[in-house]
Symmetry: D3
Subunit: 150 residues, 6 copies
């Protein structure tokens, strides 16, 4: 994890990348339940889940988001910081044993109305399972310095 | 964690609640780094962090979001499901030893343009530290069944 | 987790409640072995366990007790504190994949011979698996303030 | 962890032993809270705890019991099995950074009224902190085979 | 874990011992990946691994080494300290569900050329799976005090 | 973590690189003790350690090795596999709060006497703390394919 300076001007609309993949295990769900204190039966009660819409336990949405965002981590860009996330949507459940990866695309570049020396970059993230079904989408908003003049 | 049926009509605009609180520890950050695979020095390198803007390690944004969302978990409402999150913003850093809680307010109710029998409910979540500073905001969108006629 | 004041007089002999359920996973056993330092082969050696009385690994008794007690956690009662446990008995083994819940009943109310302003309340706890077999019993003893006069 | 056959007749009333010691850390409490789902503010909310009777967070009782019992684990005795626990009492709080060990004594040997070939052995366990204060007591009941005749 | 003083002269060339065994679970691999930050697909991507040479995920080499070394832990010898390890070799993969144990033999005793009052003891460690296949070897080097004269 | 093919001929004697850094926390030691089952008082008993040579708890050697090796993980090279480690030496203790990183250098290239199409590459690893003291050394041996002819 090393630093690589990239300015607002360096981000290319339409640029795409894909992350490594990771299998979501029962252990991940057990650890996440305890880590965040979410013991809803959808995640940790196999009997209740067997009678539910999905017939089995499903991963926490916050688990898929946090692991998905973790998979996208790359070099540190000292010119940017993470401003927030928009349009996080739960599209399909992730089951124990599913393997997820994230496809990213730069889909927006906008002025920052309050700071002339910065701009916003939108990175659309699509989390896919091993059957190439989309299970989650979210947009990561970066606040990025413009390249200094001169 | 028990079931309590609440329909779209039962959600009151302006209704507020506050969660229990939780101290974010060094152990939480270590566990989160490993759980999601995010080893950025901001979180796990005390030397690098001492020279950074905040002079110390800070919690992962995905940690504060996941724990914050976990704190809001209450009874199961079989008439609702979690549709997604909007406007997740990192407002201020959370340091090791800070204690966070979440204040929630129902701030929106809208028709679902595609499903006449459902509506959207927006729950605005504000994560506060022990100095009552806002550290994160996000809006939780629920898709809720309308009360059946008759 | 909010506070709700209940005095000794408020506890009703024969009052019953049932907790949510939780599936005991291989991950829970691995985490418990490391957490408490109990690596007996009954819990973490599948080969040894295959030749044992139960033909498979079984959960630690302290795991079932701690998770069972955890499942019973409800609102905080500032008028009570946990005095101890009696008659903890291992009735049947819990296997990987079993789902447990706890049935509770107030089975005793007694004077505290040393403190006139307090009394003891016994809550009998029965841990059941998904086949409704009792796997563990224990009695939780609460020391509870009597309601102040006037 | 090896096997060592010991019969009912081999247990000596008054026999004493002391375990190794272990420091209870903030990480242990964080892990226990998630492992068993007990997020009471006494354990994970430093602000609430600062205003409480003990002025700081305290370890879960089930943590001290499970770690204490874990510390007592020795050789496997194929002639005995763990029957249960009695008189578990919370004597004093354990704080972050306290170091506990367990002193054990064989305090009872009794016939098993239902099984002539077995007897009960009571092992009294006293959990001490680094100031030699007793923080917890419990009695471990073993069901042990009598030595075969001939 | 108690102290037992053993001097250089007390170690016998050819002395053998065998540890208890432990099943390597999916949870162990998930915990190790996060603990050390090694998310290579060989360990945590079931899809990638299905197409690999071994057709399934394999345990990290550092996991088998650390657990193997952990299995060998016995009494504390205040006269010895762990000097290092030599000839650590990955002989065969360990799969989820395999059960490993370690066979040890004292295979070398040598003078310490820099310290006349100490010597080196080599303990060869062979990690075996449940099919008695060697999966890893390593040699543990102990620096041990010679028995004082007089 | 992406693939990048590098053959034996591509490794340059004397090539150096440095990893990112990581702070070793009390939580890491607690997690490692449980993960590998090593509860020696040097690591988990603060009272015992206060009277020891180092006056405080120290990290497990296997923890520093596994985290150090984890820090060195980079791109996957499908032409290489990890053959083993040599000359792992404990040079100085790592205390809670120390921050470690690894400096690597290619220090050896050798024929594989048994496989003409492969060679061995030695990568010397030096683990340093924040005071630039060497705390551990080890040599990672890679078995690497030679570049195919033609």
């Amino acid at each position: 994890m090393f630093e690589a300076n990239r300015y607002f001007e360096d981000y290319q609309l339409g640029h795409k990348r894909t992350t490594a993949a990771r299998t979501i295990t029962e252990a991940d769900i057990v650890i996440h339940a305890g880590h965040v204190g979410d013991y809803y039966p959808h995640h940790i009660d196999a009997e209740w889940s067997a009678k539910s819409e999905f017939h089995q336990r499903i991963a926490h949405g916050t688990l898929i988001f946090a692991v998905g965002a973790g998979l996208t981590a790359g070099d540190i860009n000292p010119e940017a910081f993470s401003y927030g996330y928009d349009r996080l949507r739960f599209v399909a459940p992730v089951f124990i044993g599913d393997t997820i990866k994230v496809e990213l695309e730069i889909t927006g570049k906008r002025d920052d109305p309050k700071r002339a020396n910065k701009g916003f970059v939108d990175e659309s993230c699509r989390v896919l399972n091993q059957r190439r079904q989309t299970v989650m989408i979210f947009t990561h908003i970066h606040s990025v310095n413009r390249r200094p003049l001169g």
